[in-house]
């Protein structure tokens, strides 16, 4: 249906809803990155195949839906049966026939696939009651995992594009900006800059051309919220962008998507095409005379392109080198025109604010950081996955209540937030409220929302070394403090990991970090030393253990540990097979021995041993 008036949209919405309710039963198969890695694409095909064969009364092949990430990746692949919301986890292709037979035909539960809480042993049918989901509040992820991203009608049925219709019909551009400012929405990309103020500045600059861009270059390792939104609910991003374009007076824009997210590129493009087709994008949107168009720009795989000026140069076909921003990009950005750049999650939140109002939004979260924030919970935590929580929730609530604590009975050591630009927070910060300002104050940052939990088998120095190595590789190489400074900082960190550093080296690193922070050209360099600065702030003892005692307490740094085999060894040959340098000798059912000269301390033997027979000293 081509929407050529505001009224027509509500008519279409009614139709879409009717279509949805007509489908009595629906099977939602999660095709998020986690479930996909578990083979959920094959599960989807299997459902379609069997359903097509069986010809059941209340379910057709059309009711087998693929969705974006449902969130509970640790339990993937996930299958949800609607309308009951029956939640099957760790589904295998072989289970599909059983699910169809038991649940879809007989209306009974497949008990073994239900989620069982490891602590209480309680089994859950409806996923909304599972602790992992119960504590969450989903705004930006409202549709992710619930709809087929390829079906614009499903988005519309759930209220999609109604906010845009309301904005175009009832609000002046300034009123939109005021509403966003009122809501207190802050940029979800990391810095937490007030979105309303950004839009207001852009709108005020005198110019004929303005751009509204979306930053989908989620380069932070350990973050995948934006990926899941772009893959699972692309229309929410488009709707947010169109509202922004209307507010600031822009006619064209780009979504910059990482090339590493091929499905996000495809789904965004499909959504743009669908929105075009229905008159929701392009010339004369909903017959209101307002026009705005969006193109997909694929990133080339460079972390620095998450930086606004680098991103804009990349959109312009150049290498992603930032430029000094004494004139801000909101005034002089893409092609030197005023440009609004927000990230995926920010745009996905905007339609909800427009629909429900700033006051509603402000009631969620904290006064200074209203609303919710999506996080990707990963690392040494039981319930890895995609979550969205109200701001102000404590780290403890996230890691223990939602995340289910640390696996294998190990101890929590630190949580890394904010990606390479952020920092590590130790156990005594677990009760810190999660909001923009508290995290920054504690020496980390919100960042885009990666949250990586570390246990006592994670070495703080190794983590710093890891991030510094990442940044050395990802530095664009333009300015000296970042290119040479981070290189030297990484080099010194490696020295510590190898037990070759002195306390003077540590002092030099601290001095150097300060200069890199003040003298670098862009945010990448300015925040580059953070992984070191935050770990040395909270785990100085661990640094000193590497330096003075030449020991890695966590047993990670290869140069400072040795692996030995104790008498629990059953002689199963597993370690011998896995050792990449053939350093282990022994016969079946006899104690194995590691040749210390040949051993590279990779830890493969430790990882494969099922009998706790490998010791780290």
């Amino acid at each position: 249906m081509h929407i050529d008036s505001i009224e027509k949209l509500s008519q279409w919405q009614t139709e879409c809803r009717a279509k949805q309710t007509a489908q009595k039963r629906k099977v939602l198969v999660c095709l998020g990155p986690g479930c996909l890695a578990g083979g959920s694409d094959e599960i989807l095909e299997e459902f379609k195949r069997i359903i097509a064969e069986k010809k059941l009364a209340d379910i057709t092949v059309d009711s087998i839906k693929k969705t974006g990430c449902h969130g509970f990746c640790a339990r993937g692949p996930l299958v949800v049966i609607e309308p009951e919301g029956i939640f099957y986890s760790k589904v295998k292709k072989a289970n599909v026939a059983e699910i169809i037979e038991t649940t879809l035909e007989k209306g009974e539960l497949v008990e073994k696939l239900l989620y069982k809480d490891p602590e209480s042993d309680k089994k859950y049918t409806d996923y909304k009651e599972i602790p992992f989901y119960a504590r969450q509040k989903r705004i930006s992820l409202r549709n992710v995992g619930q709809i087929d991203p390829d079906e614009i009608e499903e988005y519309v049925a759930r209220g999609g594009y109604a906010a845009l219709a309301k904005v175009l019909a009832e609000m002046k551009p300034q009123e939109v900006i005021d509403e966003v400012s009122q809501s207190g929405l802050r940029g979800r990309g990391g810095g937490g800059f007030p979105t309303g103020r950004k839009w207001a500045t852009c709108a005020k600059v005198e110019a004929d051309i303005r751009y509204v861009l979306c930053n989908g270059d989620e380069g932070d390792p350990g973050a995948f919220m934006d990926r899941c939104i772009m893959e699972g609910d692309p229309h929410s991003v488009l709707e947010g962008m169109i509202i922004c374009a209307y507010a600031v007076g822009s006619r064209e824009g780009y979504v910059y998507v990482r090339e590493e997210y091929p499905l996000a590129v495809i789904n965004m493009q499909k959504a743009i095409d669908a929105a075009h087709e229905h008159g929701l994008l392009g010339e004369n949107i909903m017959g209101t005379g307002f026009s705005y168009d969006i193109k997909v720009s694929r990133g080339g795989g460079a972390f620095v392109c998450g930086e606004s000026s680098a991103l804009m140069r990349s959109v312009g076909g150049e290498i992603g080198e930032p430029r000094a921003k004494y004139v801000r990009s909101v005034v002089k950005g893409l092609h030197d025109q005023p440009t609004v750049l927000n990230n995926v999650e920010t745009y996905a939140t905007v339609p909800v604010i427009m629909e429900k109002g700033a006051d509603w939004f402000k009631k969620i979260g904290t006064p200074k950081s209203p609303g919710t924030k999506a996080f990707s919970l990963a690392g040494k935590v039981c319930n890895t996955g995609l979550i969205e929580v109200p701001m102000g929730i404590s780290l403890r609530d996230i890691i223990y209540d939602i995340g289910g604590g640390i696996p294998d009975g190990r101890e929590f050591k630190a949580v890394q937030t904010g990606g390479p630009s952020g920092g590590c927070l130790p156990a005594d910060k677990l009760d810190l409220p999660v909001d923009f300002d508290s995290l920054t104050e504690a020496g980390s940052m919100m960042g885009s929302g990666g949250m990586i939990v570390m246990d006592d088998r994670t070495c703080a120095v190794d983590v710093a070394r890891y991030f510094l190595n990442f940044l050395v590789e990802e530095s664009c190489g333009k300015c000296v403090p970042c290119r040479e400074g981070l290189y030297q900082l990484h080099h010194l960190c490696v020295k510590i990991c190898e037990g070759k550093a002195s306390e003077d080296d540590l002092a030099l690193m601290e001095r150097l970090s300060k200069v890199i922070q003040t003298a670098s050209l862009c945010g990448l360099g300015q925040s580059g030393p953070n992984p070191f600065v935050s770990t040395v702030r909270y785990f100085r003892d661990e640094y000193l253990a590497h330096i003075k005692d030449k020991k890695c307490p966590a047993g990670v740094c290869r140069e400072l540990i040795t692996y030995t085999i104790n008498d629990k060894c059953t002689g199963c040959l597993a370690c011998i097979k896995v050792c990449p340098v053939d350093a282990i000798t022994g016969e079946k059912k006899k104690l194995h021995v590691i040749d210390q000269d040949a051993c590279t301390r990779c830890g493969s033997c430790y990882a494969v041993c099922n009998f706790d027979a490998v010791d780290i000293v």
Binding site: A324, G477, K478, Q488, T518
Partner: protein, 258 residues
């Protein structure tokens, strides 16, 4: 016209000009390696950083690269605070580790009291400080024969594929503008070699002195409409030719009056 305060002294400046220009005009010596008037500032070397503040900032300060910062009325600038000096020292220290053999860097570092780098010398370091002066000047010239290749610490300035740059015309602008003189070139037997590409030099029809490369002359003829015959003689011989021509006029004039 705007007024700014540099190191306590109020000076006048033109709106829109860069802070570094004003600082230099005031005779204040601050180092800058990547700065050159013929190219747009990019802020690569970070040496020209200064501290800025304003009365209404209530003590809040920030550090900016003066080559890129447009002056504005009421700006208060300090060029030699302990923090600024620490920045310059650290940068020169890092550069010294990267370019241990560059006399230019050694001299600058010594001026800031650094005689030996605190860091480990970069194994693959050459004397290139990655200031992009060469690539920028080549772009201004309209050729862009060379560019920054790779990224991060692996970044080098190189022609495409590390081979003879097809767009190079052998004008030497890159080598001449390089602050650390790391772009090698030779003129030998009527041939110029730069970026491993060989160029024929035009030689003076009279004395045989070499002038510029044929490719550069062709480019000037095409782009700037300079007649071909202007490039046939060297400057010495052209002056002699001028003298002779003037002499002819004088002689003719004298003969006419006689």
């Amino acid at each position: 016209m705007v007024h700014i305060t540099i190191n306590g002294k109020v000076v006048k400046a033109t709106e829109g000009e860069m802070l570094l220009t004003v600082i230099k005009r005031e005779g204040i010596d601050i180092p800058a390696l990547c700065h050159h008037e013929a190219i747009e500032p990019t802020g690569n070397c970070r040496l020209c950083m200064v501290e800025i503040t304003r009365a209404e900032w209530e003590g809040w300060k920030k550090h900016v690269t003066s080559c890129l910062y447009p002056v504005e009325d009421g700006l208060i600038v300090n060029t030699h605070t302990p923090e600024v000096i620490e920045i310059r020292k650290t940068i020169l220290d890092l550069q010294l580790a990267n370019c241990p053999n560059s006399e230019v860097i050694q001299k600058m570092a010594e001026e800031y009291g650094i005689y030996k780098t605190s860091y480990e010398t970069v194994p693959e370091g050459d004397n290139c400080i990655m200031c992009y002066a060469c690539t920028r000047i080549c772009e201004v010239l309209g050729k862009s024969a060379i560019s920054a290749v790779m990224r991060g610490h692996k970044k080098v300035i190189a022609p495409p594929f590390g081979e003879e740059p097809p767009d190079c015309i052998g004008c030497l602008a890159c080598a001449q503008i390089c602050p650390t003189n790391v772009i090698p070139w030779t003129d030998k037997d009527g041939t110029r070699t730069i970026w491993n590409k060989k160029f024929d030099l035009i030689t003076c029809k009279e004395c045989g002195k070499t002038i510029i490369t044929k490719d550069f002359a062709d480019y000037l003829m095409e782009q700037r409409d300079i007649p071909k015959e202007y490039f046939e003689l060297c400057d010495d011989c052209k002056r002699m030719q001028t003298a002779r021509k003037m002499g002819e006029i004088v002689t003719r004039a004298q003969e006419a009056t006689l």
